[in-house]
Symmetry: C2
Subunit: 409 residues, 2 copies
């Protein structure tokens, strides 16, 4: 679903992979006209896995990240192709003049474009701030997290699978662009925004207190497997071989868990034996292994359905472990019962469950999410609408191979 | 560092833990006046670990997430205290009328506040959309990621340590608030924004193509340890017992890696033997184990310094694994050499390396990041500035215990 909150805004996106495309998707979900410009035949992410079967099977990854955008296919190696993209970015009008990119090519440099449109807003996502290459995985390795994930260590690190730094970069880019737009509407000035994936990661170490912990306390976050840091929480197995994650961070969450499992006396006995007060989250954390041993048998003795019912009845903060298939099969939060989801028919892919923005805006009609376009679907209409090119001029660009439309069905 | 991009904006934040505080921090980093309102003595996150030593040691977590905000301490259980917070949120003027919360208490419900200020923008971050409780860990368990992280499975899931869904929610909240502000400046209308952590996670499954993969291909993302999905990338150990992460997603990255390691002939031999073309990322992925076995000896035969030099010389996309202490000691990206970082002197904590926003805005002077305040530091000035209360009126509120200032040093 899409909400028209941003107002008239046209963003030209020259991008690949996750960070910039997800930022563009986020802007599109709030009503921006996002024009993704790609090399004829597709950029380096156009066939990224997972893909539909067959040699020409469309990328489900690309289709997920480019929902609701317009697609223009241009020969980006030729000066005329580059001129067209520069013209699209710098076309006049208050809605235009915004570039979103993680390609970082000199012909899309801010200064060159700002010479044609002074109030340009550009947002460039990089790997490292010095321009050297880095991706989510090669930044993450240096944050310390893989050394403390999954009971890992520096010698046996565990990489995350979720591209968390790309995601954090994407939403910050969308935020920064709208903030810069707000200033442009106020003061008439553009902005050159740059963000490095490595800065996204390392600034987060400061925001979460992890950096100060290392600097001031000379401590590293310990590697504690599935335990939750600083309070009580862990995964537990049920009698029928399922697992659930339980979190007891606040004192209310803790009381609910103890009550649900009927273990008040045992927990009090442990507290007395250890001289601890489990109303204090840090003291629960200190006794996490002993506490987990008290709770394990309760979960192990009950099938999942009974565990779920008891935890829900006591308002425990918990969640099941599920595969994506299981989530689709049994979790109403991942279904059409949740208005965040809708059925979308993507060309070349078919009908599938698809999400709009996670933000819900009360009293504002939701607009349906458009699917990801075929590459080049909007080449002609964009050249006409934005650049005012005649049908004959567009036809000539096609004939000379400077632009392309969608593949023939 | 802070950039004044957003323009006059006052946000009242009633929050705890990560998602809403990080959203408020993000707004503060772009120039908003963020007033965090807490219960006298602190909310449930005020003593969250890690903490400075001693019984009253300040939380480094709280200090990281609340940099540059103003702090007001109020007795939130009393009607007069709640009235003060409602008055702060709904105080007149174009800069005000914005509430950011993840507390979800009825006395801060949108409708009640909008009755006092019609153009109110409120953003409420929830666990689940039905209002039931959920935290990052209990949402993450249901996304499928723990079952494929670290070579895990549904029976042996691996939780992430980075609170990735909280982070994604935070930046989306900041984005949505500025988008709603943009609309309010245009049309004069407010907005009731709600976002559930579970929706943040499940919508991401759609955006990354993981949901369509499960629905249409009946496939789950495989559990492949530290291998990168869909291309070639993995961690490798060096002769001196360090590890590096290498990513070869694009064909350029792949060529650089093969060249750096001098393995062109061996790699070509493997391609011929298997009948594969490693210029195609999917075929590199299919042969990932055999390829990794070719590269392992090269890394194992060289100390880290030599590996780093060779990979950099060939412009390979790679990164070292580091602990946070190592990053502080040896990575210039996490130091004052990087303008994203600065020294901040936080009351009760001392001087430490601290980050501003990861976004760099060219030609705009950076303003220094203010430290996290002591709880209640700005109680008096906010009541005076925003509500126009006299010193006598503020004094009376103190006397009756409705508000509090900072603790005596």
């Amino acid at each position: 679903m899409t909400y028209p909150l941003i107002g008239p805004l046209r963003v030209v996106e020259s991008s690949a992979f996750i960070a910039a495309p997800l930022a563009g998707l986020t802007l599109a979900q709030f009503g921006a006209d996002v024009i993704r410009v790609d090399m004829i035949g597709g950029g380096i992410d156009h066939q990224r896995m997972p893909r539909m079967p067959g040699p020409d099977g469309r990328s489900l990854y690309w289709a997920g990240l480019n929902k609701g955008k317009r697609s223009v296919a241009v020969d980006l190696r030729r000066p005329e192709g580059r001129e067209l993209v520069q013209a699209l970015v710098t076309a006049p009008g208050p809605a235009g003049g915004v570039l979103l990119t993680n390609i970082g090519t000199p012909w899309l440099a801010h200064d060159r474009l700002a010479a044609r449109r002074a109030d340009l807003i550009s947002c460039t996502i990089q790997g490292n701030p010095d321009g050297s290459t880095a991706v989510d995985y090669t930044v993450n390795s240096a944050t310390g997290y893989p050394a403390v994930t999954g009971g890992g260590s520096l010698q046996r690190p565990v990489n995350h699978v979720l591209p968390a730094w790309d995601i954090a970069a994407a939403y910050q880019a969308a935020f920064a662009i709208v903030a810069a737009l707000n200033r442009r509407q106020r003061d008439g000035v553009g902005a050159e925004l740059r963000m490095a994936l490595s800065d996204v990661a390392f600034t987060m170490l400061s925001h979460l207190g992890v950096l100060a912990e290392a600097e001031l306390l000379h401590e590293e976050r310990p590697s504690i497997g599935n335990h939750l840091y600083g309070a009580f929480g862990r995964d537990f197995g049920t009698a029928d071989d399922r697992r659930v994650m339980v979190a007891a961070i606040s004192v209310n969450q803790w009381s609910a868990l103890v009550q649900a499992c009927g273990l008040a006396a045992e927990v009090q006995g442990l507290a007395t034996a250890l001289g601890l007060d489990f109303a204090d989250e840090a003291q629960r954390y200190a006794a996490r292994d002993a506490l987990a041993a008290l709770f394990e048998p309760w979960f192990a003795a009950r099938p999942y359905a009974e565990v779920a019912q008891a935890l829900d009845a006591a308002r425990v903060c918990w969640g099941p472990y599920r595969s994506v298939r299981q989530a689709l099969d049994e979790d109403p939060r991942v279904s059409l019962a949740n208005p965040v989801f809708e059925q979308v028919d993507t060309p070349g892919i078919g009908r599938h469950l698809s999400a709009g923005t996670a933000v819900r805006v009360a009293d504002l009609p939701r607009q349906a999410t458009a699917p990801a376009p075929r590459l080049g679907t909007h080449t002609d209409e964009v050249l006409h609408d934005v650049l005012g090119l005649s049908a004959a001029a567009v036809g000539e660009l096609h004939d000379r191979g400077v632009v392309a439309g969608p593949p023939q069905e």
